[in-house]
Amino acid sequence: MRGLVALLGPTKVLGAHDDLLLYEYDGAVDTATPDAVVLPESTADVAALARFCHEHAVPIVPRGAGTGLSGGAIPVEGGVVVSFARMARILEIDVSSLRAVVQPGVINLHLSTAVAPHGLYFVPDPSSQKACTLGGNVAENSGGPHTLAYGVTTNHVTGIEIVLSDGTVVRLGGKAVEDEGYDLVGSSVGSEGTLGLVTEITVKLTPLPEDKRTLMAAFPTMDEASETVSAIIAAGVVPSAIEMMDQLATQAVEASVHAGYPLDAGGILLVEVDGARDGLEDARARIEEICRAHAASEVRVATSALERERLWAGRKGAFAAMGRLSPDYYVQDGVIPRTRLPDILRLVKDAGMRHGLQVANVFHAGDGNLHPLILFDSRRGPDELERAKAAGLEILTACVEAGGSITGEHGVGMEKNCFMPLQFQSSDLAAMRRLKDAFDPPGLMNPGKIFPTPSRCREFAFASTAR
């Protein structure tokens, strides 16, 4: 502590117990208290901190807004949490190159708002976009509803400045679409802060679509909604978003947001197409036709920006609305091939029932990215969370067996690192370890994440079930 204050000054270091408690959690269920919190104001601060931690063999855990859903910002092995709250400036908006250069603490939505006057936006739009930071988006390779047509964070980052565990500052990539040699930018995005501390990000900006059509379709059952998703994709329409919600989620959302979703529907789809005005009516008509052919009881098209926003407010507020149903939820993030939606969704429901827990589903159906919200009540005892986790593991196992992944956008973190052997064999993990060791030989960057750790993962012994 004293060393850190001497190095960076008292205004950039927190060490009081009450202060540290504010940094022991993120958006997931695990907690751990840091030994100290540092609030750097420049790359030089970050490099000095890294050198200090390197010298004293102290772990470093980066933190954006703490909205992460896999415990990525939790100092599970102690050490210093680095909050990027004070490195939150948009450094440059280069309209002619369609790029922006930002510090990691910039809030996702603030960037899109800042570039909107130029007719541009930043595509990835996680549901937490009003709060989450671009540094966090880079760490987790965040997605969002609108990544179906336009890709996730890694498809929109061309350059980073990264501070390595020994304090070396490296600039990788830039405004050009690629550099020579290995794609270290692409390898770093989604590395969950385990390779280094990203201190500057160059992102692609995309022209705002001229217009949009947003449809809400209600189906008697989730099966029909699921089949509609595959049918839309197969018909050659690639919407910018296809989101799905089950009845339980709809009820919670309606109670809190009043988005206007029908309460009697077994499954609801929210579909959006965007682009040039000319093709949108055709696309809208085709989607509507496909929905009706799959027994949709209602198809509602937003006729104004206000109506569109209301439909989306329901989706974006869904996680928050879960408080109406249950004091706690444990959300999983498995991915499956789209064609497997109907059977895996049935399995999700069964897994909840087996453990005596309700499961609400609100997810990115277009790319097969599930978000089962397993509802529990921790006031009823520690057993509740354990049962939720057990149900979650059953769901992830099914996802991997279906040819999918244990996480589509929330990251592995400390929440699923023990489950990595479900999806990857030891030789696969060994290859990943080589990348880790090249960037961070002493292993001080966000330890206890991504890779299974012997101490915490002893109880899980999996053979890979991946296809």
Partner: protein, 398 residues
């Protein structure tokens, strides 16, 4: 600024063993044995891009031709899994039967293999619309130098479990392993295709028109500026998709072209010829650079003023430019080629000498400058291939 790199000659080995493994496991065994014996390996698909890199003869030539074929295609999932040695053209034929296509149009597309296209990060102009190799690749299996086979990514379009080693392989030129399997995103075949080509008196007008096309509401599939030694500046635009969208894209493009005093005519096979510039550039040198979009026009204007200038093709949507240089004076070609790569570096881009005449190989290295983070790349290479057997001479960071 990175410095100019000295070239070190490797002694040429006399005998080359050609190895044609039947599957991933056999491929991995070949590599394990090569590592044990410290025998160097060159990996070949169809050999279309053997001109890239400072390569000399290796002890082993490992051909991927038997690790081919479409392993799995699920039309409703819009994904396809193929062997690394599968030819792009064969994959395209399979997909077309299901009304789908692989949205990649790399040079040498008739011959090139999927593994080669990934390893060389070989993109065409469709990147403007669908993204490049790095955006379409969602999973790989790679035979490594230690004899293991590592899987990265998977079969699903969204996946953040573990590091994205797929990205590491794109553009790795085989220096990390042999790509034995790849899963890629595919798309339904669009209804309509149409295009135009316009002529302009000045590069400023051509690039200004291209800039509006790239940002237009109706997204185009290709937007390419070309200038040959003789003739005008040209802008080729192609759009694919639903009828009304394609019509709108070309209507808007024509309006922008007219406003900048260009005249547009129907597009023939112009894009194909522009794309195959690397295949044609067997003399002189071909420089390939990646530029910030805003720097493209100044780079192009300077390039055409160079003594050795022969042809320029710029993908205006991605900032990838190729310049073909031809001169009876070899020294002039070398000087001009290296100057262009440095010029790209100065404006925040990157580049390489993608191809040069056989007799210039020893005098004109592929990578006159080192990429940022080269020391990390060397550590990664050492971790994956400690004996240094894989593709010597094909590392930008050596």
């Amino acid at each position: 600024m990175p410095g100019i790199r000295l070239r070190v000659d490797r002694p040429v080995t006399a005998t080359v063993v050609r190895s044609i493994p039947a599957d991933a496991a056999e491929c991995a065994r070949v590599l394990a044995d090569a590592t044990a014996d410290r025998r160097t390996v060159r990996i070949t698909g169809s050999g279309t891009k053997s001109y890239i890199g400072d390569i000399s003869a290796t002890d082993i030539e490992l051909a991927t031709e038997r690790i081919a074929g479409v392993i799995d295609h699920v039309p409703a999932d819009l994904t396809v899994t193929v062997g690394g040695g599968a030819r792009i053209a064969d994959v395209a034929a399979t997909l077309a039967r299901a009304g789908q296509f692989l949205p990649l149009d790399p040079p040498h597309a008739d011959e090139a293999t999927v593994g080669g296209v990934i390893a060389a990060n070989s993109n065409g102009f469709w990147r403007a619309r669908y993204g490049g190799v790095r955006d379409l690749l969602i999973g790989t299996r790679t035979a490594l130098a230690d004899g293991t086979v590592a899987r990265a990514g998977g079969l699903v379009v969204k996946n953040v479990a573990g590091y994205d080693l797929d990205k590491l392989l794109v553009g790795s030129f085989g220096t990390l392993g042999v790509i034995v399997e790849a899963t890629l995103k595919v798309l339904p075949l669009p209804e309509t295709t149409d295009g135009l080509i316009a002529r302009f008196a000045s590069p400023g007008d051509a690039f200004a028109a291209a800039d509006t096309v790239v940002r237009a509401a109706a997204r185009v599939e290709a937007c390419v500026v070309q200038r040959l030694a003789e003739g005008a500046w040209q802008l080729a635009v192609q759009a694919r998709g639903g009828g009304p969208t394609v019509e709108r894209a070309l209507r808007d493009a024509r309006r922008e072209i007219t406003a900048r005093h260009g005249d547009a005519t129907a597009l023939g096979d112009d894009l194909g010829r522009m794309r195959e510039l690397p295949a044609r550039s067997i003399d002189g040198a071909l420089v390939r650079v990646s530029l910030p979009l805003a720097a493209s026009v100044a780079f192009a204007e300077n390039a055409v003023r160079i003594d050795s200038f022969a042809a320029l093709v710029v993908d205006a949507a991605s900032g990838i430019a190729r310049v073909h240089l031809v001169n009876d004076d070899d020294d002039a070609v070398i000087r001009d080629a290296e100057a262009l790569v440095l010029a790209a570096r100065m404006v925040g881009g990157a580049g390489r000498i993608e191809r040069r005449a056989e007799h210039l190989r020893s005098r004109l290295p592929t990578w006159p400058t080192r990429p940022n983070g080269d020391f990390l790349m060397r550590r990664i290479k050492d971790a994956f291939d400690p004996a240094g057997i894989l593709e010597p001479g094909r590392s930008a960071f050596a």
